[in-house]
Symmetry: C2
Amino acid sequence: MAATARARVRAEITDEITAIARRHLAEQGASGLSLRAVARELGMVSSAVYRYFPSRDALLTALIVDAFSAVGDAAEQAEVTRPREDVEGRWVAAALGVRAWARAHPHEYALVYGTPVPGYRAPADTIDPAQRVNLVLLRIVADGVASGVVEPGPPLRTPPSLAADLAAVRAALAPDVPDAVLCRALLVWTQVLGGISYELFGHLQNGVHDLDAFFELQVRQGAAYLLRGAAR
Amino acid sequence: MAATARARVRAEITDEITAIARRHLAEQGASGLSLRAVARELGMVSSAVYRYFPSRDALLTALIVDAFSAVGDAAEQAEVTRPREDVEGRWVAAALGVRAWARAHPHEYALVYGTPVPGYRAPADTIDPAQRVNLVLLRIVADGVASGVVEPGPPLRTPPSLAADLAAVRAALAPDVPDAVLCRALLVWTQVLGGISYELFGHLQNGVHDLDAFFELQVRQGAAYLLRGAAR
DNA sequence: CTCGTTGTGAGAGCGCTGCTCTCGTTTCTG
DNA sequence: CAGAAACGAGAGCAGCGCTCTCACAACGAG
């Protein structure tokens, strides 16, 4: 770890830049993130920042990676508060945890689950962190299948193209989880994200007032469906 | 309708501006929409456009209203291809119609269901058009309840705050639709939007390849849950 | 220790953006 | 017909991402 002085100060400044950028993002959103403003706050001239990030988008990519990681953390930290055998509780906790994080960090949430930034194209660096939360969820589901709490239900008749994709997921991440359960999990999870986006992006305005109660109700309904394929 | 010549030409130019803006939006997305570029294409100087729209955001708001209306159209046109008594088919068709529209107009979709634009705050003009699609969906659900195809299921125990909101929706838009069904409808609809966003914003990349088959499977599962409170 | 290489910050500058203000001209209205 | 209102052009301000050049400091090799 005996890096040269230059390498150390470079790492430090890089951290400072991302820290300031993170704050600007949290305060004003992605569209308000200005490389020049970050430089100004750092006491640097804007061109100097380009020594550390080749473009504004590269800086934003770093923040996206951070945000994905934070989503994974939120799910995991919420989930582990429940005993391992309480599969339903773990799922509900993970969903509530992600929502709480999203409400606390709406711009970061928008960055990862909202409209992709202008040109839209996910650099390879972002796909690994994006999987973190999926792993947390799949582990819960896999535990539920193993312990029998998750009812497989009738086998799903999927087109071959789809069956292959599901088989790949199963082989890589969730052994012994049948197609029907994988589909239900994805269904319920997209509902969770859809619900968060719906709320966060203002579509429940003037319709639902007790957002906490509403979201929790929805999540519990979703969890019941995930486990038993039916309401309640 | 004998408007003055000035009023007529004003309406024409306003339409031209929104038409060009709509095209720019479709091609490059909201962040690429430049008032100056629109003015340039119109053969005007940028300041002249401000006679018609007080700000770039106002222009964008007009496009948002358009997009909301287009979503409503997509749902309605897809839905009416099914016989009135085929409630499940109508719901599935509406969902598939909205997805098809979203894939054909990703930037418009992002505008209404993605991250709200920078400052985020929905002008009052946008809430009416936003309701259009909800009305289409609620009508389907209400028809299903009336004909008995939608099973109410066990009554939902909702906190009073939530019950009041649901009662308001019922009174205004969907008489005789019980809370449990309203909740299921909202649950399934947020799943549809979540699924579209998940797909459109790239989260299924490298995971699912046959996106059409996958989405249709999900929608059918969702519809089954909406009608019968259970898978299949 | 010296010398050439490389990393770094400052500065100027390009073309773009949203938006404002002024100034003639055109059109409407009382 | 005269005053008021609407309109388009033009210049200009501050901001943006990004590029290029230049001086200087830190580094590795001899």
